[in-house]
Amino acid sequence: MNEEQFRFEEPASDVSAGPKEELAAEHQSNASEAAEPSMASKWKEATARWAKESSLTYLSNPAARRDFVVQFRGNRSAWLFGIYVLALGVVSLFEYYKISGIIDPMWQRREMETFEEVLFVSLALIISLVTPALSATAILAEKQRKSIDLVFVAPIRPRTYLIGKILASYRYTWILLALSLPFTAMSVIMGGASWGDIITAYFLLSLQGVIFTSIGLYFSSMVEKVFSALIYTYAAVIAYCYATLLLGVLTGTGTLNSFWFGLNPFSLLQAAGSFTNVFGVPIPNFAIATAVGLLMIRIVLGAAGNLLTAPSRPERARLRGTAILSFGALAAAVASQTAIPAYEGSNVLSLAMCLLLAPLVLVVPFQACYGLDGETANKPNGMFKLKGALTGTPAGALPFIYSIIGAGAAGTAIGALISQGSVPSSLPLYTVYMVGVWTFVWSLARFASSFLQGLKASRALQFLLTAGAVGLPIPILMWMDNEVGGGMGPRFPWSLSMLSPLMSSPQAQLAFVHGLVWLAVGGLIAWWSETNLAKRMNRRKVAKMSSQPVLAGGTMSPLFEQFGKRSPKARGKNRDNLGDLGS
């Protein structure tokens, strides 16, 4: 083997070329810089780059190709698909025999519709069970076998890689759906449903598959254990199903179904043939559901990519920027479709915005809570730095949270203008409420971060404090309700609860007052936490510089306590004798 054998016919790119080629390329680029490329050539170059990236991401994604090969290797998939088809066949046969004995055509038609519903609920169940299992371990398996390092040492963006994982999972989901076609076709042939309904339902089911896959990928990127990833993913999928169903029931009416039904795998048949009027134009709910679903996928994938990207990388800033914009667009889409309030005189659009912001409870600990160790690694980073919103440093947590709230409020305002022609007066007041509440939750994260040393311990403390702040006042409020209000009257004590502005008879003014109060409380906690954090970090620095064995909490280790009682001179002497142990 000689070196000539290994040399490729031409270099893979300019940057991988040898030194001479490098110089030539540099000269060329200098020459082209001097010539100032025209707008057209710049445009052409950008288009070519975009086309190349899109092709790599969607058509020839390496991660998708590799996963696809592995998924279908051996008999495992064939067995699984065989069992799946058999199960669907048994369900169909059972339903068919039930229907075949009925003579009354009306009853028969009703039974056929039930047959179709049973089939789609079965498919929804399968999609809800299979797709999270496929994706929740996808990144985790790479992390565990450490191949993720090998992937990210190659010039591939986390986004491209995640899309590859989605494509692989999506194809698997599509095969499951395609295999069920003969059975669902039965209901069309026998008169239970139209082809249009079936195609729409399949389209929405596959969309659910992608949503669940992205949720799985997010948790797969976040945690380190397979069991945790599966538990979190299934919990999130269940929460998602409940939330979309609830929103569908709340925002739909007897005659017009909500697009939210199209975002729930178990109720998507209701969205199949329904419409929502936008400026008097009936828009199919499946189209709205698709747009909202795609926005959700984008946000979740952005969050997953953020977890896989090192701080201060431009990729992370792009992902965060996209997540903020996508959230605004999602809020606008939701508000524009929440045209028919569930009850008269409600602040339904503002409440919808608050509800959309609820997942921030999962985001805040990752943004603002690092523990003393993590804070030290980031150096004293300060309390609020606008630039940090996109890079993910501790000081960027609050700007990022405010950006998300701002995007949500702006999106809701735009959506309200579309659906109602005006911005609800309660929106600014509820925005202040959200700013106050999330500042308070953020301050608890900062408190936990300044109080405990480790990452996990401080995040656990933050979670406990948040849950406690919301839940603990309830027994006190119940007691006050009985003692002060006598269980009747204006129910004053309950207005003290943090969640009262979201309760059954929401009051925008109360939300505003709550917002200001929580903002002030949060500000005070954060100020105290930052001061404490600075002191402890400073103490740590001093301890490190003098090699004094001081623990993170500022107390001395029992092992070294005896030295603390001696004169500085004697202490220094003893420290020298400690050698490496002392440092």
Binding site: E3, V15, R66, V69, V70
Partner: protein
Amino acid sequence: MLDVCHLRKEYNDLEAVKDISFSLGPGDIFGFIGSNGAGKTTTIRMIATLLEPTAGTAVLNGVDVREDPMAIRRMLGYMPDFFGLYDDVKVYEYLDFFASLYEVPARRRPGVIHDCLTMTNLSGKRDAFVQSLSRGMQQRLCLARCLVHDPSLLLLDEPASGLDPRARAELKELILELGKSGKIIIVSSHILPELADFCNTVGIIEKGELLAFGPVDEVVRNHRPARILEIKLIDRAPGAARLLAKMTGVLDAQAAGEDEVRMDFNGDLQAQAELVRALVADGYQMLGLKEDHADLEDVFLKLTKGAVN
């Protein structure tokens, strides 16, 4: 050209890498020596863009790892101290996957993979599953993976660990060959005799600090300025040691038992001949004189204390 400039990495209170700087040119095979936990892998991972440096940077062919990591990744091949192999994937598919990650055009991939397999002597295993390969073959496959995009810098972290002597010898040949083709190669290891065989530059690191850097001979010479001479006698070694200690060029002379004297000597050949003459003239019955050649291991042991981060 690789310039590592004041690279530093801190983990909380721990300074894993302390202000490391060095430069390497095309064809350099750099042996990065240090105990476990000395900071070799951290340094390599920073150059490989997998870790963000706390301070300092590395510049490869004019591209800064902090400013344009994507461009750096196109120019380097990284082989960590673990395999990171996928199950249920064949050798060809494995390399094809990485070739596509490195954006090697699809039409060129079969040829490139063929070249890499030939170079790493794995052509016969093209359609074998990666998990069925022996450890040595898996290691060579990992090296083949690093070569699919023809990088100008190869980072090999403990490439020889766990390999049998034959596999090590093959790997050594391969690395030498790659060095000859103009690539910059950084090899971290704690198997010193091997590194001395094929590295032309070495760096010794302990507790994150680069204690020595330069061509192998230079590093050895700088840290062992005196030669060690051993003189074998029939008896009376302590007396001979006392006599020798007074002579020109002898820095230190110690008797090792009754029949041997060891001494640090920095004199020339004339002075060396004078030692022999003086001993014989004084009635000592001399059996022989030999020089104990210092090697990389001696320098490593002299410079380091075995402390880790």
